[in-house]
Amino acid sequence: MNHNAPSLPLTTSVRYKRRLMPKLNRLKPIVAVLPFIVFFYLFQLTPLFWVLVNSFISEGEWSLEHYQEILDSAFILQGFKNSVWLAFWSSLFGLLIAACLVSSLRHLDGKIRDAVVAFTNMSSNFSGVPLAFAFIIILGTNGALTLLLKQYGIIDDFNLYGSHGLLALYIYFQIPLGALLLYPAFDALKKDWQEAAALLGASQRQYWLKIALPVLSPALLGTFIILFANAIGAYASVYALTAGNFNVVTVRIASLVSGDLFLEPNLAAAISVVLIGLLAFITAINQWLVSRSYHAKR
């Protein structure tokens, strides 16, 4: 172009650029995003698609057989039941304890507060296999706490490897996560509200019932859902504690793809789809509850 119009090299090139640049400019940023899309597709989306598609394939043909198999199998249904039971109660207790921690923490002074936040941050990483081992040491058959409680006759026996032991373990890892999620929500409670309520004649209890809890409710519900999802998807701690002998749904799924006996990846896929469906259902209920609160009107 420049050679053909030597008298106007600058303007021509500028014009040329102007015409072509918008297209190129629009493409350039997309090129920068492309690697991310590829990796996300390869490691997040494809496995999900595979699970979804293959859950409907049995012996090479489209079928609902695997879903039928789930409904017919008392064993798999028990896994679901145990998982939901553990997830529900551990989330509830975890949330309550975390809420107590966070609301009381607001009254302590800054340095202690920072230290406690830092500690919960750290202990939220104390989960999975190491946590299971720690629990065996203190609450196992010969655990220090088990012996202590036995000696004082508080308990006859404690079975860490049963549902209550697992519940204790689950609650333990739910507390720090719940606390970390609730810190910002409680920080949003303004001191002015409590003072205004007091001047209008409200007691501490009335303030909590009429103002603080309604304001916190979306955050509490949201945290509950995250804790629930966290518990129902948990695998490492229960696997390490019971070596896969306690029947929860994640153990069922894993044993169908990596166990020693019968590998049935498509059945595992179907259970996975049901599990995700369950989570989606609970999230939908949560969304509905939140939409009834004042936040939705924002």
């Binding site: 350039k28 940023p29 997309i30 920068a32 995003v33 690697p35 991310f36 990796f39 996300f40 490691f43 997040q44 989306l45 496995p47 999900l48 698609f49 595979w50 304890i97 921690l101 009381s104 923490l105 009254h107 302590l108 202690i112 406690v116 919960t120 941050n121 750290m122 990483n125 104390f126 296999v129 190491p130 946590l131 081992f133 720690a134 065996i136 040491i137 010969n142 220090a144 706490l145 012996l147 000696q151 507390i175 999802a229 129902i232 998807g233 695998y235 490492a236 696997y239 390490a240 994640t250 799924i253 894993a254 793809v257 990596s258 990846p265 595992a268 896929a269 996975s272 599990l275 995700i276």
Partner: protein, 262 residues
């Protein structure tokens, strides 16, 4: 009245913290005790479990593999995410919502479910992925994603990308140069904080490591699990060493994120 309240709040906080600290402390004491059988307190104290642990070449190797996988996964995540977040914030801010939904996926889909798909999908891939660190690096990128996106996008919001890049353009910088020399240095603290915090939970990842790779490339968590049959004191020392490392990373991470605030 106020003092009574304060006392109640103190007791609440301290007892919950004590509850959370109990397993960690017990493991610590156990790792230092020579024998702790059917009694409430250990018989004697020793460092021999730590000595044994650090002389175990299998432990050193597993630790090294974990570091390798986690560091590489984080570097990969940063290399992929930084340009992406920049593009989203500078060119397509309306897509921030879409990204926020996308990054929920790794969080909402349990690792066990993802691993079902990964296991089958990569079973017949042309080059071997299963049993190698590469598949772990890929999946760890996805689980670090939500944390990194949140942390880095928060730093992006704090610096007003649009104005900074426009200012750099007017001073003659191209967009990539503006990103490298103006935006990136301002994100350093946010990046470092999210790196350390993600690192500490990647190091604790067990599900993918066990199902996708297992003993073929034994990482720290898998090694820990496989050591379950050995002495409880030994595994305690292992757990404490791991936790000390986590402690260090979280501490560094929170130091960076605090620096970011001031």
């Amino acid at each position: 009245m106020q003092n009574v309240n304060l006392m109640a709040h103190r007791i609440t906080v301290y007892s919950i913290i004590a509850l959370l600290a109990l397993p960690i402390m017990a493991t610590f004491v156990y790792s230092l005790s020579s024998h702790w059988g059917a009694s409430i307190l250990p018989d004697g104290f020793t460092f021999k479990w730590y000595a044994e642990l650090f002389s175990d070449s299998r432990f050193i190797a597993a630790f090294g593999r974990s570091l390798f996988v986690c560091v590489l996964a984080l570097v990969l995540a940063m290399l992929l995410m930084l340009p992406t977040i920049f593009v989203v914030f500078y060119y397509f801010p309306q897509y921030d919502k879409v990204m926020n939904i996308l990054i929920l996926l790794p969080f909402a889909v349990p690792p066990v479910v993802s691993s079902v798909g990964l296991l089958q999908f990569y079973a017949d891939s042309p080059f071997t992925m299963l049993g190698t660190p590469w598949i772990l690096i890929g999946t760890y990128f996805t689980i670090a994603l939500p944390f990194i996106y949140r942390a880095v996008s928060n730093s992006f919001i704090a610096i007003n990308v649009k104005d900074l890049v426009d200012a750099a353009h007017l001073l003659g910088a191209s967009t990539p140069k503006a990103f490298l020399f103006v935006i990136l240095p301002n994100l350093k603290k946010g990046i470092m904080a999210s790196m350390f915090l993600s690192f500490s939970f990647l190091l604790g990842e067990f599900v993918f490591a066990n199902i996708l790779v297992g003993t073929r490339y034994e990482t720290l968590q898998v090694y820990l699990y496989n050591m379950r049959q050995t002495s409880g004191h030994f595994t305690s020392a292992l757990v404490m060493t791991y936790f000390a490392f986590i402690f260090l990373c979280t501490w560094l991470g929170s130091r960076f994120s605090k620096g970011n605030l001031s």
